[in-house]
Each structure stands twice: as C-alpha cells, then as structure tokens.
C-alpha cells in the first residue's frame, strides 16, 4: 500500500504544480481584462464629460459692452417728472440706437446701421429700462452703461469666431469685428458671470435664454413623482412581500409589475395625455401631470428594488421580533423596513434619476412648450431639463450650442445633488 501510494502523491503534486502556472496566468489575464474594461469605461466617460464641459462652460459667461448713453428726455418720449408707467414704456431702443450711432459716427447706410445695432442684445433695452427705473436720476444725463452683448458678438469676444474664415460663412461680419476690436481696445467690453442663465426662462435670443423654468419644472415634477411613487411603491412592496398570500393572483401581479418596468416610457406619456389631460382635465404642460406620468413609470422600479431589499433582510431579525411578541406589522415597521431602507432608497434614487432624465413621455403631455415665466407651483406650465436640452439642441442659433451643453451640466449637477442626498440618507439609516 505504501509502495503504490507514495509515487502517486508525488505524481499528483507534480501535476498540480504544472497546472498552477496555467491557473495563475489565467487569473492574471482575467484581472487585466477587468482593468481594461474599467479603463475603457473611464476613457469614454472622460471624453463625454470633457466634450460637454468644454462646450458648455462659455455659456456661464456673458459679454457686456459699455455704451455711453445720452438719456435725453425727448429721445425717450418722456415728459419731465414721468410716472413709473411712462418710464416703463419709454423708447429705450431709440436711445440705444442713437447712442451707438454717436459712438461710431462714420457708420452710414441702413444695412451697416442694422449691423451696428446687432452688436447688442435685443434684451439690452430691458437692461437699460431696469437701470433707469431703479435710478431715475440718470435721466437727462449721459452715462456709461454696461449692456448685454448679442450672442454673436459675444461669441466673437469669447474667441469662438475664426476671423480668417470667409465673411459669408460667419455670422459676425468684418464691420462688426472692426467695431468690437475698437471697443475692446477702449476697454468697453467685459466678460461677466452669466446670472441670467439661472434667472431667466427660455428665450429666442441665446444670450437671454435661461434654465430657470426647466430647473423649477424638473424640481416640481420630481417632487410630485417622489410624493406619489415612493409611498405607493414602498407600501406595495411591503404588502406583496410580507402580507399578500402566495397564489395565482399575486403571481400575476408580480409578472405584470415586472412587465410594466419594460414598457417604453412614451406609452406612459400617451396614457397621461388620454387619461389625465383629456379625461380628468388636468392642466396641460404642468409638472403635476408630468409628475404623475413619471411616477407611473418609476413605480415598477421602486417596487421591484424595494421587494428585493425587503427580501434580503435576514429572517433572523424577523424571528427575533416575532419571538418577543411583536405583531406582524410591528415586525415589519420596527425592524424589517429600517434595515431594508438603504436598499429601498437606492432603488428609489435609481427610479428618480430615470425620471429626471426622461423626456419622451413629457413631450406627449405638452411639457415641450416655449415657456418664459418661472412656474410658481405644480399646476403652472413648465418644462424640464432634458426637454430644455432637446429644445435648445434643436435651435439653429450658434449661441444655443453652448447653452445645450450647459443645460446638460446643470442636469448632471441636479443628479449629483440627488445622489448625494440619497447617500446621506442611506448613511443615516445604516448608523441607526
């Protein structure tokens, strides 16, 4: 017995030794594949982020041009001691145009004048109006006032326009470039942080367009979505997991919930249009309807992840609670739910993030409208960030390209804030 077993073990260990090298090589190879996969992911992520940020960051600055404005009462069509109302509807555009002509006296001809006026934003007259209403003492004097530049002259000042290109191929003409260079040399141009991007609603003029309506719209929509989907989702999951009898009906419900998660989101939009707007007469374009539609879309995600989280709670905790005489409900609410909460929150955040990035169903219920007024509540017309991105990406003006990327950055910022909140909540629940 000894004679035969000794060489056998020797042979075995030799065989094992021989195979070791191969096994370790396989392991190393696998690790490299893994690293490569992670690296590829990072490279793509970096390219994406770099592209968005490099395109979008100029949108956060706005060019201003200092114009000497003669606030002549006659020119403004204002009587002395004008009322607030008269101040509001005075002819500021005429004053601005006259002042520009004064600054560049050699400009003549209608076309050239038009080009001159186009240096400034259409919104410049509102800038001026606000300044005058704020400080009526300016009336009758000549003052230097910073006015918002047109998006095209702005893009030249930001260095986005290649002057070597043939004139017909660019929107900023040679004449305008000459004036802008002159202004720049005199120190009459300035780049400032673009506050209007965060305080304005949408606009036809890129330099006037802001994200605020979409930001508020997204916020209100998600608020409605969360308020509806989270409680319904969690309680459905608790009922299905803990209380519902296991039979054909619950099986059917489970299958349907899983199927619902796979329904294309635009179908939910059609449903929202048919049911909530046409049948229940809820307001069109409102975050209320958007939120309801998105909550329908998010519900399956929340239910499925919550059920998984509840299932993964160790049965020993349930037994412990039941063992000291807790009722079923007490067991669930005192012990199972708190332990499952981090998982439930993670699932809900995934669902909410999906809802935040969703645009298709919202197009169906009219949240794609051009809206300039910031919504004050869930029933006011609004749009949401991804739809705003879609709208701006569709606009032909060059100034909207950077706005599109900037809006994407804001959308991602919103997402990061949401995720941070979820991580914070999860940590708090885990500590308890």
């Amino acid at each position: 017995m000894n004679n035969t077993s000794k060489p056998d073990t020797f042979k075995h260990s030799e065989a094992i030794k021989a195979s070791l090298k191969k096994r370790y090589a396989r392991e190393r190879r696998f690790q490299w594949y893994g690293r490569l996969a992670v690296l590829t992911g990072f490279v793509f992520l970096f390219i994406l982020l770099f592209d968005i940020v490099s395109k979008g960051y100029p949108a956060f600055t706005q060019q201003f041009i200092k114009v000497s404005i003669n606030l002549d009462l006659d020119q403004l069509d204002l009587p002395p001691n004008a009322t607030q109302e008269q101040l509001f509807s005075a002819n500021y555009l005429g004053v601005i145009k006259a002042s520009l002509r004064e600054m560049f006296p050699d400009v003549s001809g209608r076309k050239d004048k038009q080009q001159l006026y186009r240096l400034l934003s259409v919104g410049a007259e509102y800038n001026l109006r606000d300044r005058v209403i704020e400080n009526p003492k300016l009336l009758g004097h000549t003052t230097d006032i910073w006015l918002r530049a047109h998006s095209e002259s702005g893009s030249y000042l930001k260095g986005q326009v290649d002057a070597a290109m043939p004139e017909s191929d660019r929107r900023v003409k040679d004449l305008q470039i000459g004036w802008l260079e002159e202004l720049k040399a005199e120190g009459r141009t300035e780049s400032r942080f673009n506050v209007a991007f965060f305080t304005n609603g949408d606009s036809r003029e890129p330099e006037m367009a802001g994200i605020r309506v979409a930001l508020y719209g997204s916020f209100f929509t998600l608020l409605v979505t969360f308020a509806i989907a989270f409680p319904i989702g969690v309680f459905s999951a608790v009922y299905l997991e803990e209380f519902a009898p296991r039979n054909r009906l619950t099986d059917l419900i489970e299958i349907n919930i899983n199927n619902l998660a796979a329904v294309p989101s635009i179908v939910f939009g059609l449903l929202g249009l048919a049911v909530f707007i046409n049948f229940f007469d809820l307001p069109r374009s409102a975050p209320l309807v958007g939120g309801i539609v998105l909550s329908l879309m998010t519900l399956p995600t929340i239910i499925i992840t919550s059920r998984a989280a509840i299932q993964s709670v160790s049965p020993s905790i349930r037994e412990a609670a039941l063992g000291v005489g807790a009722s079923k409900l007490q067991t669930v609410f005192h012990h199972v739910l708190p332990v499952a909460m981090p998982g439930i929150l993670t699932g809900s955040i995934i669902g909410m993030a999906q809802a935040l990035g969703e645009s298709a169903p919202l197009l169906m219920i009219g949240m794609v409208a051009f809206i300039m007024d910031v919504p004050g509540g869930v029933t006011d017309p609004a749009t949401v960030l991804p739809v705003q991105v879609y709208l701006w990406a569709d606009s032909p003006e060059r100034g909207f390209t950077e706005k599109t990327s900037a809006a994407i950055m804001v959308l991602m910022g919103f997402l990061i804030v949401m995720n941070a909140l979820a991580v914070y909540l999860r940590k708090r629940f885990e500590l308890k």
Binding site: E319, A320, A321, L322, V324, S327, H334
Partner: protein, 295 residues
C-alpha cells in the same frame, strides 16, 4: 424493558444485526410506521403539553406523532441527529412555524391548559408568554438598551422611563451581561461578541417576563467559554422559568437538563430523566447516539 422494545417498527430490530445495516437505516426516511415512545413523556401538572403532534413541510412529514409534556420549572433537553425534528418541535411550542407558509402543524398543544393553536389564541400573547432564543445570536441592529427595551415597550410593560430602565437593568443582570455593558448601553447590540450577543438575546427574551423560554441550540455558534457562561445562566434561570433547550451537544444536555428527549427522524424515541437516559438508555437508537456511533 424488552417488552417496550417489541412494539417498535421492524427497522430498529433489524439494525441490531450488523453495524452496516444500522448506518443505512439512519437515513431511511421512508419508514413512517407506528411506534411508541419509550420512557416517560408525560408529567403531572405540566407547564406545556403536546399530544399527537404531526408537522409537515409541504408533502414531507417532519414530525411523526410526538407527544411530550414539559414540566414546571424544569429544564428539558431535546437531542438527536440533524434533521430529527427537534427544532421543528420546539418551534411549534410558540407557533414560530406559523411564519413558514408551507408548514402544517397537527396535534393538541396547551400552555397551562390554554389551547395554543386555538382559534382565540393570539400569537402575540403566546410569544410574550413563551419566549425564544435562537441558534444564531440575532440582536436587533439597534442599541443594547433598545434591544432589551423593545419587548416591554411594545407590550406596554413600563409606564415611564424609570420603570423601563429598571426592566432593562434587571434583565441584563439576570442574563449576567449588565456588568459588561453598563457603560455602553447606547452602543449597537451587533457590536458585542458572539457570546455577549447571545446573552443579550436571552436578556431580551426575559425582559417580557415569559413563563417558558425555548432555546434552539443557543450555544452552537459560541466558543466553549461563552458556552459555559450560557450554561451557568440556564442553571440560574431555571429557578424562575421553564426552559426547553434543543442542543447538539450531549454534554450540554447532560450538564443543564433534568429531562432529556431523544428525537430520531421526526420521532420521539425516548424520554427520561437525564441521568437515566445518558447512563442507561432503554432504546438502542438512543444508546447508539449517545455513545457516538452516529450523529
């Protein structure tokens, strides 16, 4: 003694022939014929009694016609090889099997004459009267104080903070854990060592002042020193409580219990005073088990 053996199903008789044959029979689940428990399953004026208990998991029968009494203020140990139904039997005593959907329990159970499975029996009240300590220490992921205070709180046993503090301290003292944790009552119970966690679970069980404590292999996850502490504790607790303990360790059964019940393949083979069962087992399956021939 011989006459008691004869009504047994033929399987044990055949086992006597050879060792090999016996080894096969241990895993033979098909034999569900009638049998008779040897020894003294019944006591006078029992705390709990179970009669003709059959338990099924789906189609599989886990317990065959078991009848057993648990006396007042006694410690009864249930031993037997894995899968013999001792834990299942223990869990029928406070209806913990109710939470397993496929589990079906038949038989008559009573606690001080109250029908445990009666239509008017509330499981919450039952489990408050019959507490349980589980195989794996399972403190709630909350503070030590909360772990003990939870039961009294949901049952409304304390009317103010002082009373609750008293209950918590007393329970921890009786579980001989207080001196070790008195400065960290607000720390999570899950941060204690395994033995401390199990004593915390015992403190949690006695905080609601149960009449019976069921222990399902309370020391199987513990080292010998922690085990010794728990066994000492069981000795102290039996003054006030009736204790039914399932254990894998025959030494433990011998050390802590007054009566021992030997289960085999879902049948209650033999019950008797612990000393008698371990020194003079009447059934050969019991003898084979306690002499270590299988299990």
């Amino acid at each position: 003694m011989e006459s008691a053996d004869s009504p047994q199903s033929p399987a044990p008789a055949a086992q006597a022939a050879t060792g090999e044959k016996k080894a096969l029979d241990i895993h033979d689940h098909t034999d569900v014929g009638a049998y008779e428990t040897i020894g003294s399953p019944f006591v006078k004026n029992p705390k709990m009694s179970a009669r003709n208990v059959n338990v099924y998991y789906g189609d599989k029968q886990a317990i065959h016609d078991v009848s057993l009494d648990i006396g007042r203020n006694e410690v009864i140990a249930m031993i037997g090889p894995s899968g013999c139904g001792k834990s299942t039997f223990l869990r029928t005593l406070n209806r913990m099997n109710d939470i397993i959907p496929i589990c079906r329990v038949q038989g008559d159970f009573s606690l001080d004459g109250d029908n445990i499975y009666g239509a008017d029996q509330d499981t919450v009240l039952l489990r408050a009267r019959v507490g349980m300590v589980f195989q794996k220490p399972n403190p709630f992921p909350k503070s030590i104080y909360e772990n003990v205070a939870y039961g009294p709180r949901i049952h409304g046993l304390a009317h103010n903070k002082t009373e609750m503090d008293e209950i918590v301290e007393n329970s921890l003292r009786r579980a001989s854990l207080f001196s070790e944790v008195k400065d960290q009552l607000d720390k999570p119970g899950t941060g204690l060592s395994g033995g401390q966690q199990q004593r915390l679970c015992i403190a949690r069980a006695i905080a609601v002042s149960p009449e019976v404590i069921l222990m399902d292999e309370p020391c199987s996850a513990l080292d010998p020193i922690a085990t010794a502490r728990i066994e000492e504790l069981i000795d102290e607790l039996k003054e006030n409580y009736t204790i039914a303990i399932v254990t894998h360790s025959m030494q433990q059964a011998a050390r802590v219990s007054e009566r021992t019940a030997y289960f085999h393949l879902g049948k209650l083979i033999e019950v008797g005073a612990t000393k008698q069962v371990f020194t003079m087992p009447k059934h050969e399956l019991t003898e084979n088990y306690i002499t270590g021939r299988f299990g």
